[in-house]
């Protein structure tokens, strides 16, 4: 074998090996949780001697589970709506237009992404405590929603901005020439064109909010979501209901990613660009 071939082989082994290793690394804790969710035993020890659905039953019977689930869903839904709406406006302003103070606008909308979440949560909690003492309210799910919107909007904005970047603006001009008003142009032309980006931003936002721990933990007061419910549970000692809960919370992520993939393929097919993975 020539030196050149050997070099190529070694490089391939390194590259494919690293991808395989990192994928295994990412799925070690996930697989562990799924396997443990089916144990019969009260103690989480390996190897598992007998399997059952017992802990799923215990989870559904737990009275803290259902409020946490509905809180998580409400928080993720409302945050997603706001983050996506703000993201659409922000992305168009970032990419399509030039205006005074645009640099300041860009810096402001990007900055929350660069903050460790715990610190973002802490500084907002200080402010909500002050506001709460003036206006007589205490941290709740609603303050957590504000926190999530501040944290998630930059992510949504970036995803939509990528879509806006490849935008054909002659279509907007054509609609305007045909007599459409600004709002009509946006609704009939702009929005459908950037829709795939909007959908993925929405999905991404929902999952970021659904699995968020730090900001919820800081800002939700006594309201519990699934991540803070789990955190307070495992701080006391590991109960077998948490692997079952984990396995259930993986489901929406799986569903939404499948949905995102469907939209991506459809958008790619519509633009007649061959889908890369096939």
């Amino acid at each position: 074998m020539s030196m050149h071939r050997l070099e190529t082989h070694l490089a391939n082994i390194l590259l494919y090996g690293s991808v395989a290793a990192v994928l295994v690394f990412f799925y070690v804790p996930i697989a562990t949780l799924i396997v443990f969710s089916f144990t019969e035993s009260r103690f989480l020890s390996f190897p598992i001697t007998s399997f059952s659905l017992r802990w799923y039953g215990e989870l559904f019977a737990s009275k803290d589970f259902w409020p946490a689930l509905t809180n998580s869903a409400l928080l993720a839904f409302v945050s997603t709506v706001f983050a996506t709406l703000f993201g659409i406006g922000g992305a168009i302003a970032w990419i399509r237009w030039r205006f005074r103070f645009q640099r300041a606008f860009q810096a402001l909308t990007f900055a929350p992404l660069l903050f460790p979440q715990l610190l973002l949560g802490v500084v907002m909690l200080l402010w909500f405590s002050v506001l709460g003492s003036w206006l007589d309210f205490s941290p709740s799910l609603w303050t957590a929603i504000v926190g999530h919107v501040v944290y998630i909007t930059p992510f949504a904005l970036i995803i939509i901005a990528v879509q806006v970047h490849g935008f054909d603006d002659t279509l907007e001009d054509a609609a305007r020439d045909a007599g459409a008003t600004g709002w009509e142009v946006f609704r009939e032309v702009t929005l459908p064109l950037i829709w795939p980006g909007v959908v993925s931003a929405g999905i991404f936002s929902f999952l970021l909010s659904w699995g968020n721990f730090y900001i919820t933990y800081s800002l939700s007061g006594t309201a519990r979501t699934l991540p803070t419910f789990v955190f307070s549970g495992i701080a006391v000692g590991s109960s077998p209901i948490y692997p079952a809960l984990a396995t259930l919370t993986f489901l929406p992520a799986l569903l939404l990613l499948g949905l995102a993939d469907f939209f991506r393929r459809r958008a790619a097919a519509r633009r007649a660009i061959p889908v890369k993975s096939e």
Partner: protein, 291 residues
């Protein structure tokens, strides 16, 4: 695409930017300002007193305890950055240039792992690494003795958890810089007789440097605020800045101290970002000059 100048009197511009700007000013900039103001106050008997002095700051800068935790945090963050780049670079390179048929599936797998609940995944690691966990169970089964590994509740476990949760950020930023590289430059190097290794080191790597750099900086800044991994996987044996901050708010009810410590961490993060922006500008400036 044409970029259109707009005036602030434009209704569309107002609708697109003002709600977001208002929310961020009221709930992001004002809290930061408030944090700065609070760091100049004091507490007596667990109550906030408006004093406007430097006592809290003197406290922060004279206590060795705070310094050692800050040093520990920065060391862990730096180690996390090094590991994330070492692991992320080959994966990003493979995704950009090798596994083209599987690229999308790999991306989905990584995104899925990234987007699932971090608390649960960290708990999953505890179950995996625990004395009676999966790893020891498997090692025991192949005859390596019970409790062969004992890394849970050590700083190494904390670091493992941090790398686990932050690695996707490096993979995606490096990947973005790698796919943008002009393929012709790489082919030109091959034509000129350069080997694959040499082409990688002298063409691809320098062109990907901004992405590697950006990924590293992002991971560093985010590492400064981790709290879950030291608590759950490190077992509280190696306290980091975030735990210190949380304690000063919750256990000691000392808001000025918590605010000052928060500002110290934010300043380290922002300082790193500023420095990184300067270096990046120098890097791209040099490339313009040699073109």
């Amino acid at each position: 695409m044409e970029v259109k100048p707009r005036s602030w009197r434009d209704r569309g511009l107002q609708a697109a930017t003002l709600p977001l700007t208002t929310v961020l000013m009221v709930f992001f900039l004002v809290p930061l300002g408030l944090t700065a103001v609070l760091s100049f106050q004091s507490t007596r008997y667990y109550r906030l007193v408006w004093t406007w002095d430097l006592d809290t700051w003197v406290d922060v800068f004279t206590h060795v305890h705070y310094w050692s935790i800050m040093a520990q945090t920065i060391t862990m963050a730096a180690a996390c950055v090094a590991l994330c780049i070492a692991l992320g670079l080959p994966v990003a390179y493979a995704m950009a240039h090798r596994v083209s048929t599987l690229e999308h599936h790999i991306t989905v797998l990584i995104v899925f792992a990234f987007l699932t609940d971090a608390v649960l995944k960290t708990f999953g690691w505890v179950l995996f690494l625990d004395r009676s966990g999966v790893l020891n169970g498997a090692l025991d089964a192949v005859g390596l003795g019970p409790a062969a590994t004992d890394i849970l509740f050590t700083p190494s476990a904390t670091l493992l958890g941090m790398v686990y949760n932050l690695l996707p950020y490096t993979i995606f930023t490096i990947y973005l810089s790698l796919v943008r590289i002009d393929r012709d430059l790489v082919l030109a190097a091959y034509d000129a007789g350069a080997s694959k290794t040499r082409t990688f080191l002298e063409v691809t790597l320098p062109l990907a440097r901004p992405g590697i750099f950006a990924g590293g900086v992002l991971v560093f800044v985010l590492s400064l605020g981790v709290f879950l991994e030291p608590k759950v996987m490190g077992g509280g044996t190696s306290p980091m800045a975030a735990e210190l901050i949380r304690q000063s708010f919750e256990t000691r009810v000392n808001w000025p101290l918590g605010a000052a410590l928060t500002l110290v961490v934010i300043t380290i993060g922002a300082g790193t970002l500023g420095l990184a922006a300067l270096v990046l500008m120098r890097l791209s400036g040099r490339r313009e000059a040699t073109r």
